[in-house]
């Protein structure tokens, strides 16, 4: 009998906790339904996830590469030195005096003297041309003083080098920062490219996810119309599609993270080999848990927003 309870409100207790539980129950059910729907068409769902993953992977790789270059540059910059090549006529004793004087300069932190004999020795050892060098009558290598300046800022280093080059014992002073600046510029370029690509990919993902959701809504047009007729709100109708967007984005982000981890693992060992030739002791391409989580979160946020826009547009257009 419909009798007395004909218009009793559905909620038994009016407490906020009960309302919250009801709301959560509803969400849990929608979330599960949404998973089931995606799994019902596994191939197309996987394809969508794959497309999202690849789109996310490209800018992510670039940005990570730029970040790695930056940290690499930070490490190298602290070791930047100025090489002072001494005149051939300077004796070992005089060279020692010059280097002691340099130590008192406020702009200089460390000084290392490499005498003519030491230079020859080191060169013979590293080049393997020991016998050829032994056959020479004179030592062709100049004595060198390696100076580590306080400031590694390019302008101040150049000024310091110019001043040191004017010392009578010094024939030339060389700042080995040209290649560094090029690398810096390159790193900036990579970072800008990563940023631009991120924007393009953001737009692309909006279109991809939005279109997928729009199609899903078209396929369920009949159901949506019935739900509207029996009193379903737009939010209720959109909810499963928002979950789909979140799943697509999250899965795409996770797959992108996995692919990036694989790419970095593959590239890291040859890169380490390359840089060990430059006496670097660096882990180059870093990709940790936080970066992975960031990719997944980025995917989820993009997926949710794209689904929100697509579903609002489609559902508002359906006016029964």
């Amino acid at each position: 009998m419909p009798a007395a309870s004909a218009r009793k409100p559905p909620r038994r207790q009016g407490s906020a906790a009960a309302a919250l539980r009801k709301w959560l129950d509803g969400h849990r059910m929608t979330a599960l339904t949404s998973v089931r729907r995606l799994l019902a068409t596994p191939v197309s769902s996987l394809l969508t996830v794959f497309v999202i993953a690849v789109s996310l992977l490209l800018p992510s790789l670039l940005l990570a590469l730029s970040a790695s270059l930056d940290s690499l540059l930070d490490g190298v910059q602290q070791e930047t030195q100025i090489s002072l090549y001494l005149d051939d006529s300077v004796t070992d004793f005089e060279a020692q005096e010059v280097s002691n004087d340099l130590l008192t300069e406020p702009d200089i932190t460390t000084v290392r003297l490499i005498s003519k004999a030491q230079a020859l020795e080191e060169f013979a050892a590293s080049s393997g041309l020991g016998e050829v060098l032994a056959a020479l009558d004179t030592n062709p290598l100049p004595a060198t003083i390696l100076v580590t300046p306080v400031s590694t800022e390019p302008g101040r280093m150049t000024a310091l080098a110019a001043r040191l080059a004017d010392l009578p014992a010094v024939t030339s002073a060389q700042v080995d920062s040209q290649w560094l600046r090029r690398l810096e510029a390159f790193s900036r370029l990579v970072s800008v490219a990563g940023g631009v690509l991120s924007l393009v990919v953001l737009l692309g993902l909006f279109v991809i996810v939005g279109n997928t959701i729009k199609l899903a809504i078209e396929n369920r047009r009949q159901e949506i119309q019935v739900i509207k007729l029996v009193g379903g709100t737009d939010a209720y109708i959109a909810r499963p599609f928002l979950y789909s967007g979140v799943y697509f984005g999250g899965a795409g982000g996770a797959l992108a993270a996995l692919m990036q981890a694989i790419v970095f693992t593959i590239f890291n060992s040859p890169l380490r080999e390359l840089f060990s030739l430059y006496e670097g002791e660096l882990t180059l391409l870093q990709f940790g848990g936080i970066d992975m989580a960031a990719l997944v979160v980025a995917g989820i946020v993009i997926g949710w927003f794209a689904a929100l826009f697509a579903s609002l547009r489609s559902i508002l257009a359906m006016q029964p």
Partner: protein
């Protein structure tokens, strides 16, 4: 409960579906709407459901002027109304049970409470044994009764039915009308569009007759309808 005050509905192409409709349906009243096909019966029901907006005039349902009903309020307005559609509007991707449970799901009922109500509603229309079937496997008459169960499951204060007995044999028609009368007896207002003249005549309720969008006759309940049975 429902009050039409000089309501007209014109479509963009100029076709006038309803013209200057005036009538009032009170709480606990059952009325038939009859008329030839295209007379405006369905349009009238659509206006009450806020599926269409009146072009002019005032339509007041449950104390609410539908002209002032915002888009966001429409779903809540519809939850007070149980509607039976001519084309059933069932979903074939789920069972009979889930179809009937849909309004309760939307309103956020607990699964347990919803299940109890769905079975009660299905029992009323004699389909309890078919709750697990897909509605696509049911006959037209059975589908219609699933639609009726869905309309009443939420215990609405108003029930609208568009040709609810269209696919039913006389015996089932009488049963469905019996269900409607039960709801009437507990204060639900019902508006039933039908061109089943013999059914209307046999029940002797208030009857509104539409002709080309005009309300041409408003015959009160209890009228001995024998001489007008052929209409």
């Amino acid at each position: 409960m429902i009050k039409f005050d000089n309501v007209s509905k014109r479509y963009i192409d100029g076709e006038e579906a309803l013209a200057n409709i005036n009538f009032e349906l009170s709480k606990g009243e059952l009325a038939f709407i009859t008329g030839h096909s295209g007379a405006g019966k369905s349009t009238l029901l659509k206006l009450i459901l806020a599926m269409e907006r009146a072009s002019s005039g005032q339509l007041i349902v449950n104390g609410m002027n539908l002209n002032r009903l915002g888009r966001r309020r429409i779903p809540f307005h519809r939850r007070q109304i149980g509607a039976v559609f001519q084309d059933h509007q069932l979903l074939f991707d789920r069972s009979v049970f889930d179809n009937v449970a849909l309004p309760l799901q939307i309103a956020g009922y607990h699964a347990h409470e919803a299940g109890r109500r769905v079975r009660a509603a299905l029992d009323k229309v004699g389909l309890l044994c078919k709750e697990r079937l897909n509605p696509a496997h049911l006959s037209g008459g059975e589908q219609q009764r699933v639609g009726i169960a869905r309309a009443v499951v939420n215990r609405p204060s108003i029930i609208l039915a568009d040709e609810p007995t269209g696919n039913l044999d006389p015996e089932l028609s009488a049963e469905v009308m019996g269900v409607f009368e039960q709801f009437k007896s507990v204060g639900v207002s019902l508006l039933v569009a039908s061109h089943d003249a013999s059914l209307i005549a046999s029940l002797n309720y208030r009857t509104l007759t539409l002709d080309h969008g005009r309300l041409v006759e408003d015959r009160a309940a209890g009228y001995a309808g024998s001489e007008n049975a052929g209409r």
